[in-house]
């Protein structure tokens, strides 16, 4: 009967809403549909989640020289990210201090200044207020005027190996601690694929919008369970076409049985701050040293050794809480627009120092699986809309996330390790979500 009351109206059943939306009693782990559908929950997420954690805002290669900028978001907050004359990365709200107009209307570019289109208040590329039009006019500002210093700065900006994050929370934990061992290892291994240990965001991203909650993407990018089912047609395409249409060796296996076997190797790790990491050692390791790129891979082997290189070439996947993903050679971000509306942006990158035709091959592979006319990611976002549709059948409101609970173990780092197609990473995500939503 208690269960029945919660199901109908979780807010009345429990004064702490987030608590009542996750049922992890008695070996269960279930999430209430309102966590994905409710406008009040969505609004609370902006305050309790997106305003309190580190959110990815860009990669160093997008800001090669002073004046380079892009616009992006921290939750619902539109921000400008730029490299100033001081060579530093600056993150500020895209909002004039005068009467609130957006000061930047471009997606990316290079500029000396941002000039508000309304009354032409002028800001430097790092956000300092340079000039107020007609400041000393008789109708202007008095000596007592409390003049703003510049655009509102996002209080914390830091990077880990060129990946820039920002936080609206001045008291947020240091970025390096926020990432924790598993997420840092994933990034390190991604960069280890590049001879120069660096990457370059390559060309323009794929951008898509789906009619579903943002947390479906957070869950799915590290969901080892769905691949053989959501992507069944892709598995069949691979069995038929292999590398002849440009997969470029990214999806290992060949037959469906081999692909399934490979995908069930390795492990997943639920990080301390809600991150989920999925890694496995590569199959067909010896083939890397006989093919067209044997010199490239042999140099990596000399540097990292066989054991570590198997994991590097396994190309792990991660969801860094809440909305930053890495998989194959891409950076993915997604941003909440509404409870049932999310934008996903997928940036391919090249490996600095790798052969040019290797990077081009990876780009073609990326295009084939991840594009809106491709054979993979478009089915994922379709499923997110299908999920949202299904949750409108709210008379039964709970989602089951108990896969692999018995098979997981807690590591000394506080992280939890589970099997590849378990929901260990999803549980880590939801536990962190609940902590934040509860104000802890």
């Amino acid at each position: 009967m208690t269960q029945e009351i919660q199901r109908v109206s979780p807010f009345f059943a429990d004064p702490a809403p987030a608590h009542s939306l996750i049922d992890d009693t008695d070996g269960r782990f279930r999430v209430h549909a309102r966590a994905y559908t409710d406008q009040a929950i969505f609004d609370l997420e902006q305050k309790q989640v997106f305003s309190r954690v580190w959110v990815y805002v860009g990669h160093e290669s997008e800001f090669g020289k002073p004046g380079d900028f892009k616009t992006t978001h921290i939750g619902l907050q539109p921000v400008i990210v730029s490299r100033g004359e001081d060579k530093q990365i600056h993150v500020m709200l895209n909002r004039c201090m005068h009467r609130g107009a957006a000061v930047c209307r471009e997606l990316h570019g290079n500029t000396q200044s941002f000039i508000c289109p309304y009354h032409a208040w002028k800001y430097s590329v790092d956000g300092r207020l340079l000039a107020i039009s007609g400041e000393k006019d008789p109708s202007g500002y008095s000596a007592k005027f409390d003049k703003p210093e510049g655009l509102r700065k996002v209080p914390r900006v830091d990077h880990y190996r060129g990946f820039y994050f920002a936080s609206l929370n001045p008291d947020v934990v240091p970025l390096v601690d926020y990432l924790g061992p598993a997420a840092r290892q994933l990034i390190d291994r991604k960069l280890a694929q590049a001879p120069e240990g660096r990457i370059t965001v390559q060309g323009r991203p794929f951008v898509g919008v789906y009619q579903g909650n943002w947390k479906f993407q957070s869950e799915n990018i590290i969901d080892g369970y769905h691949f053989m089912y959501t992507h069944r047609s892709f598995v069949q395409l691979q069995a038929k076409y292999g590398d002849t249409t440009g997969d470029f060796g990214v999806h290992k296996g060949g037959s469906a049985a081999e692909m399934s076997k490979y995908r069930n190797q390795g492990n997943v790790t639920g990080g301390v701050h809600g991150h989920g990491i999925n890694q496995k050692p590569v199959v067909g390791y010896d083939d890397f040293f006989t093919g067209a790129y044997k010199d490239h891979f042999s140099a990596l082997r000399d540097r990292y050794g066989d054991e570590e290189l198997r994991w590097v070439l396994g190309m792990g996947a991660g969801c860094l809480f809440p909305t930053f993903g890495m998989i194959h050679n891409q950076i993915r971000i997604w941003r909440p627009i509404g409870p049932a509306m999310t934008e996903v942006t997928i940036y391919p990158y090249s490996l600095d120092g790798a052969p040019a035709d290797f990077n081009e091959g990876m780009l073609r592979s990326h295009e084939r699986f991840y594009g809106p006319a491709g054979y993979g990611a478009v089915d994922d976002v379709e499923v997110f809309a299908i999920n949202q549709q299904g949750l409108s059948a709210s008379d039964d409101a709970w989602l089951i996330m108990e896969r692999g609970m018995e098979a997981e173990k807690r590591l000394d780092s506080g992280e939890v390790e589970g099997l590849p197609s378990s929901e260990t990473v999803h549980r880590a995500f939801w536990r962190q979500w609940r902590r934040l939503m509860d104000g802890r």
Binding site: L107, Q202, G203, R204, P205, F206, V207, G208, V209, Q211, G212, T230, R232, S233, F234, Q236, L237, K240, Y241, T244, T245, G246, A340, E343, P348, A356, D357, N359, E360, L363, R364, H366, E367, R368, G371, P372, A373, Y375, V378, D379, V381, E382, V383, A385, I386, Q388, Q389
Partner: protein, 170 residues
């Protein structure tokens, strides 16, 4: 002047483009494949100012990839096309712009493509009509049996902006 070297006229180009539109809307995709030359490219760029090696495209299909695209649509059910889309291609503003260095005729057109998913129209994502608006550029050549496409390049007016499900035939 031999027949094969005769200049391609606007009327001939229009006939080919209308036929292509009809084949796409009717999902007669094997016949659509046969419209291309073997080295032909079906291309929907995001940024056509960059070489293909430096940026991803929405579609960058050589012959093998076109064959795969058609096989995928014909034989393998997948969530983004289950249920299916219906489309209508409108082709307009056809102009012959000249002949390139390889002897292919440059043809420009404006196209509007309406698309809707079939199935339970009460559900999210189904039953809505989407519109793709594009300048579509072709390189056409003569071959045995009629004109062939060496390049079809679709420049969507919103190409760098959010795209929905583009798994129907554009």
């Amino acid at each position: 002047m031999s027949d094969m070297n005769r200049t391609i006229t606007r009327a001939e180009a229009e006939e080919l483009l209308y036929r292509e539109a009809r084949l796409l809307d009717a999902m007669q995709l094997r016949e659509w494949l046969a419209l291309y030359t073997p080295e032909g490219l079906y291309w929907i760029p995001i940024d056509d100012t960059q070489p293909s090696g430096r940026t991803a495209s929405l579609i960058y299909d050589d012959a093998a990839r076109r064959e795969e695209r058609v096989y995928h649509l014909e034989h393998l059910p997948f969530p983004a096309q289950n249920p299916r889309s219906r489309t209508v291609h409108l082709v307009s503003n056809v102009e012959v712009l000249g002949v390139d260095e390889q002897g292919a005729t440059r043809v420009h057109s404006s196209q509007v493509i309406y698309e809707t998913r079939t199935g339970d129209y009460t559900q999210i994502g189904l039953g809505e009509i989407s519109v793709a608006v594009a300048r579509v550029e072709y390189l056409l050549v003569r071959a045995e049996g009629g004109l062939r496409i060496r390049l079809k390049k679709i420049l969507l007016i919103n190409r760098e902006m959010p795209q929905g499900n583009l798994t129907f035939m554009l």
